[in-house]
Symmetry: C2
């Protein structure tokens, strides 16, 4: 497993079930039981995913031993957003090139004849 | 290895060397040799990282067999950015709460006495 914080965050996000758990938690905190139900997963499987998310700082757990509701912690996602910002101009540039290409193709199309 | 596209992107980004390679490529395309030098890595080690990045669609490689310069492809990063957008309100809210707390602490501090 990666040791630096940003790598830990990326590794935790590299799983569709863990991203679905975060999406569920974005609507409010939930217990392991509540999380297991919609995913049709065993409690140990959900617990394992929650441990990865907690280790990456993406969720926190309540203190009541029996329930321990999980809650979204979005701060590591801000670090991902900050890291991404450097690259924004690249994807914006590539979409701009695509737009220009589409415009060029439109210009080349024969114009409809006048009736 | 994860099979969905977004998970592949996150997994590829979960390594500080691969992120450093992307940062280098954001300044222009580079060959394996040029990439290996600053990282003091073996060519096979760099090649392995490039394969992960290429598989995730984060770089493309030139066609000349001998050089095959690598080039940044930022489109998958846009998907990460789109995915993150849902969570922006959470980290912005938590920083707003922190600001409010700091303001509250400031208010509670004893005012300096007038001389």
């Amino acid at each position: 497993m990666p040791t630096d914080r940003l790598s830990q965050t990326f590794a935790a996000l590299a799983d569709p079930t863990r991203r679905a758990i975060l999406a569920r938690l974005s609507t409010g905190e939930a217990t392991v039981n509540e999380l297991a139900e919609p995913f049709e997963m065993s409690l140990p499987a959900v617990s394992k995913h929650l441990k990865v998310l907690e280790h990456a700082g993406l969720i926190s757990r309540g203190r009541e031993a029996q329930w321990r509701p999980a809650r979204l912690q979005a701060e590591p996602l801000k670090d991902v957003s900050d890291w991404l910002e450097t690259y924004r101009r690249f994807w914006e540039a590539s979409f701009a090139r695509l737009d220009a290409l589409i415009e060029e193709l439109k210009q080349k199309q024969p114009k409809p004849e006048k009736k």
